[in-house]
Symmetry: D2
Subunit: 253 residues, 4 copies
């Protein structure tokens, strides 16, 4: 294809390879999801159908791209961890980020009706995404711990906020009530005023969702001989226990 | 949100701002579309429904993101030109590329049924994407000229190929027949053997599609007073004429 | 050279090509030059020998690297403009920045004694450097205008400061005196208290130094037939006049 | 400094921070050193004065920049390893590379006369440089192993080449003689024809030079209590022994 005269425009393309031998994380975030969730009347503070749709998309994504070893999400965000040695799209950042977010979005629209039986999509949902590289297993675990920490902080806040609103406050009154409150204070509000024990709320709200592959050798899970299965779980990924039970996930390979 | 201990993981995020005062092009390409088009029985060498679906997605994209001043596509690719002065997502490359491809994909799935009335989506379509910056108007025009050149070369080749196959050759016989043939030779094959005048094939196949905004002041197009309309056209964008009639499109602003 | 086992470490090298068809500026800045200038007893606010040494280094640099079309410096900084079409080191940023600063530094040490006859170098002078790309001639001119603006602001301030110190104030008293003073105020101080007309100070202090090549065709300069000469001048590069007289310098080529 | 109108040119500067928590290597290479070494009549295949000058520059560099934990060089190249946690110039690549190469060059010129008593510098020596990041200790060790491997291969080749030339061959005859020869063959040539036992040549030629800090706790080296000293050595850095004796050097800190 010798279209000589214009060929030079290719020289402006930038080689955006990510550093070899580092964990690549792609994080997807809902774009304008505040508005999108209102338009589609998501339940507050958590809409279980919406969360399960996100999880189904993550599961499809992990099945589509074999180099993803783990994913974690909550609310309208999801993080996908590609293995350290991945050569997916030659480690080109824009390819990896675009293909991941495009596939995820595609599944989101296709599966919408499975989770929102009675609701049509009124507008096109979309997500932004970025890649981040982590040079060690310790740091990628800290990354995941941070996302779960953010999940907890946001969920506890939102749970309080929407209970206060449900009890008759305006949104700004409820926000004012929560200014400067510590974690413990918020649990007190929930317990004292609404008889809610935060620790007893569904794990999917409090812990978010992990989607990952398990093999028969992983402890505590029964998978058919020689098979790999994709599992959705709502476990703690901050402490060591989970990672000790699943040493294969972040193994250097 | 003082989750101090893990906060440091944010430092690994890279600032990927694109050079100010340059035209930003986002090019989207179908991923595994060879397979996708077979699975959904696209007509060869061109499926008009598939092309019109792509155009509808481009139109929705240009309406969603006001800083896109022009777009051009053919087959399973589309290029979007953002204006030189855009501050869209602070010119961060990964944000721009991910949001554009995600929105485009979302519309592709949502509008599928409008164009393929009788066909369900059997798998999730996805696209890769990249950003490219061009420092001058001349070079961004050369970029677009190149894409239209590629459209022409591919379409002429594919038209010959599928006519030969239709006439009884196997795919590899047809490919062998075309090896080393120049543009003129291919037109001869079409004319001599199949009585096809290449220049009379539909412009959407030969020229691809341009999607852009027109204002009432643009020549030759009637748009309501004070209104901007998004137009789909299949014109020549290599020669000067189009750009002289639409000086606003690539104006520095 | 088949040292297979370790060869892979080369994959970690990043391709850092600068965007084609943009002006490349390399700016060099003295590292710890406050300390270096005290150690070598530079005159305050300006040491003419030190400035002339910088200019000699710039001249040698422009003679060594033919793709540099213009350079401008003051105090301990110098900017080198490479032509838009340069393929110097394949436009690799780290190569360009390192070779330029290394050569400049080398000449600085070699020529030291020419300008500081009676002083030995007591410590190794060094410079940091960066590359910056500019997509248009207008913007590279604005870059140069900004450097000359900074030269003016710094020089006016330092001239006032050192005159006040010379008149008996401590450094902090002099600084306090100048807080919040506008350009006009500072000229007043110089004129009223010290009978100095700022506009009559040497141009090398007020305007900085331009080093560039002239050909016989450039107006107002006599160069031998067919020859290119490197000239050091202290002219205004903010207004159009200089650039009109030297249209070749920033011509696209 | 409110020089508003031109201030915007600063936006074109790129943030080039290197990934946190990775080893940063700066490698310096002589520019046009073939020519430089001929001009200054360096001895072939190795000029001990030139190598010792390089080592003296490396020593000065390591003393100037405390975050350099190790350096290794041979011929006209030197690699400096900055510790993983360094915040030197905020990890900005262009700053690190430029300051290191500038300081090294400065010392090279200043110390020239110490090593070449009878020779004046006839032209300005200069070096290019690059930064490379390595995410793990293993890989940075492989990087250093590779450089020592290259040193060995080059030195063995050059030793043969210059012995052949010394015995009466032209340079191209000598090169032809060595085409396709393996390591063992080259040792044979040296031994059979010139009675040279390659393993007995000076270590500085065969192994290159390591420059690093030692503390009194390091094994096998006597340093004054509580002191750190910079040592120049010509040891093997491919095998584990050296690193076991100097565990502090590449410790995460």
């Amino acid at each position: 294809m010798a279209n000589s005269k214009y060929e030079y425009v290719k020289l402006f393309e930038v080689e955006d390879k990510l550093m070899p031998s580092t964990w690549i994380v792609v994080r997807i975030d809902g774009r304008h999801f505040q508005q999108f969730s209102e338009e589609h009347e998501f339940e507050k503070p958590n809409d279980e159908r919406a969360l399960k749709l996100m999880n189904a998309c993550a599961k499809a994504t992990i099945e589509e791209f074999p180099d993803i070893v783990f994913s974690y999400g909550f609310s309208d965000e999801y993080s996908f961890v590609f293995k350290k040695t991945t050569e997916f799209y030659n480690r080109r950042s824009s390819k990896i980020v675009s293909v991941t977010v495009s596939f995820f979005t595609s599944v989101y629209v296709m599966k919408w009706k499975e989770f929102f039986l009675d609701k049509d999509l009124k507008s096109a949902p979309s997500f932004d995404a970025r890649t981040i590289c982590y040079p060690s297993t310790k740091i990628v675990r800290d990354y995941l711990a941070r996302r779960q920490d953010v999940c907890h902080i946001n969920n506890q806040y939102n749970t309080c906020l929407w209970m206060l609103i449900g009890s008759g406050m305006t949104e700004s009154e409820a926000q004012a009530e929560l200014v400067g409150k510590q974690k413990q204070d918020k649990n007190e509000i929930l317990f004292q005023r609404f008889h809610i024990n935060y620790a007893e709320l569904p794990a999917i709200f409090r812990k978010g969702s992990c989607v990952f592959k398990v093999r028969e050798t992983d402890s505590g899970i029964s998978v058919k001989r020689g098979r790999t299965e994709v599992v959705i779980d709502h476990c703690d990924i901050i402490r060591d226990k989970f990672w000790k039970n699943h040493v294969n996930i972040l193994k250097d390979k």
